[in-house]
Amino acid sequence: MQSALVSRLGLGLFAAAAPVLAFAKPAMGEMEKQPLNLHAIAMFFIFVLLTLGITYWAASRTKSTSDFYTAGGGITGFQNGLAIAGDYMSAATLLGLTAMMYMQGVDAYIYMIAFFVGWPIILFLMAERLRNLGKFTFADITSYRLNQGKVRTMAAVSSLVVVCFYLVAQMVGAGQLIKLLFGLDYTIALFVVGALMMVYVTFGGMVATTWVQIIKACMLLIGGTTVMLLGFSQFGFSFEELTNRAMEVHKLGTKLLAPGSLLADPVTAISLGLGLMFGTAGLPHILMRFFTVTDAKEARKSVLYASGIVAYFFNVIALMGLCAILIVGTNPQFFEGGEIGGKVIGGGNMIAMHLAQAVGGNLLLGFLSAVAFATILAVVAGLALAGASAISHDIYSRVIMKGKASEKTELKVSKFATIGLGIVAIFLGMAFEKMNVAFMVALAFGVAASANFPVLIMSMYWKDLTTRGALAGGYIGLFSAVTFVVLSKSVWVDVLGFASPIFPYTQPALFSMPLAFLATIVVSLLDKSAEAQNEREAFGDQYVRAQTGVGAATAASH
């Protein structure tokens, strides 16, 4: 029973929450299509109209490449904080974590802390340097004093790997979820998501992408808080009463509040913690957000707001999950065949939705469904923009044209790249409909933590980094992360059908990240070439810029 629920969960956890649930069973079973949900569709239409209006307005402000990639650097810390929180809190967070709390109790709460703890670290070690050194993509930073062609190509390749896998995982999850929530056909859902994403990004660039994300973050906060308050009020806002009664009905009993199996093995726990923490710090669409603010001051503020919002919302979700144990878990209406303790209608993903319906009727259910759809759209738009900028800014403008491309052609290339990525995402989404895509998320986080993060952090902190070292570390991180994921249960057993996995953990980070660091360090130290010497000497100037922001890309072009 539990594993069936978890496997359904794994499906919906197409975003960041999936690594932990990647041990879910392969066959996710057919998700039954729900009847057409009119409230949800009406509210979703309002959201789409609003965001299209914003895109129209944003289009008039998107003239230069700087507007397109980074909204001209004119986003404030508060706006960016909301957008970052929005990028981080996907549909998986809302639906997956509520369900995890509902099923596993306090284990889920511990997991949420692991999910949160990366943010303070990103602030302390990276935020201001990212802003001071970067312009449009994080490859700007890694290639700052290294060989532009080679290092940029490497960074762009690993960015695209991350973006593509994450995008496909999102699309498959989106199709399934929309089918479930709205009663729309899987293929139609993919086309709707793909088309809207292309419109937002090609016309509105980063301005539209950011505002879509901000609106969605606000909707998510309002929706989640409302459901939590209505649910919690049924227990007189008393934690004691809620937990006492929850323990009475939950099959875990008093174990509900004790740590269970989730993090019992310390290697898994630490690998997961590392993967979530440093994977987040290597995701191109999250890193890109640091270039949209005016200066390092605003970059720091945006992390402050983002982490505050994320921390608040995780606690809301924890309470939602506890309330659901009683409100959903004891109501036969939400179980197939009316059998309490049987299969939840629609699977684990629907627990948050059932809770919304139980406490707020169809209106709240519709609102929360619309929020889930909006969430998917906003996240895929951010991903597409990050992928497009790797193609147009890094590969086309810097590597192929060696910086001689006109702004106009670069902009054109980036729009074509967006459309190309959108089409690829739709078709891959259709191809992978019946597959378990949990491994794609593990892969995206693993590659981000092992290929992007080590080179990025070393380029900011370590004087002796050279081009050869960066290339060795980046490519070894990329290949080892991919290899470990392929040999792990989620691909080796679940996709390829072998009996037992060769690599026993779901997250490769604990092993592939040290490999990447080691390769970077050893190869850099052994590099005695003349270029390497120049690269080491160039660190001094880069260091001053990283610390003071002198010479940093500014919003001054406006």
Binding site: F124, E240, T243, V550
Partner: protein
């Protein structure tokens, strides 16, 4: 302008001071976060009984939940401390250093 200015800033002892102070704060806060978080993870892995202990007789507030909530609050407060100091005193110092470099290199 840039290269000369960078060289000037690097020679300014105030720059070394800024970097040293800001780095010390960032490293210290990171260490607090990592030690507490991974300590907690270790506790969950090796001493789940302690994590499941109730703080008060008759209450459902366990050590695990209390420590969890404590981490959410503490880590956010640490980001607040960093942002206030970095955007306040360190940025003032930064401005001073940059302006001195501007004057010298003009």
């Amino acid at each position: 302008m840039s290269s000369q200015m960078y060289a000037h800033i690097r020679r300014n002892p105030r720059f070394a001071e800024l970097v040293a102070r800001r780095t010390r704060l960032a490293v210290m806060l990171s260490a607090v976060v990592l030690v507490i978080f991974y300590g907690f993870v270790m506790m969950v892995a090796f001493a789940p009984d302690i994590v499941a202990t109730r703080l008060f007789e008759g209450s459902n507030l366990t050590v695990g939940i209390a420590l969890g909530l404590f981490q959410f609050v503490l880590f956010w407060v640490l980001t607040l401390i960093y942002v206030r100091r970095a955007n306040g005193e360190f940025d003032d110092l930064n401005k001073e250093i940059v302006q001195a470099a501007w004057k010298e290199t003009k």
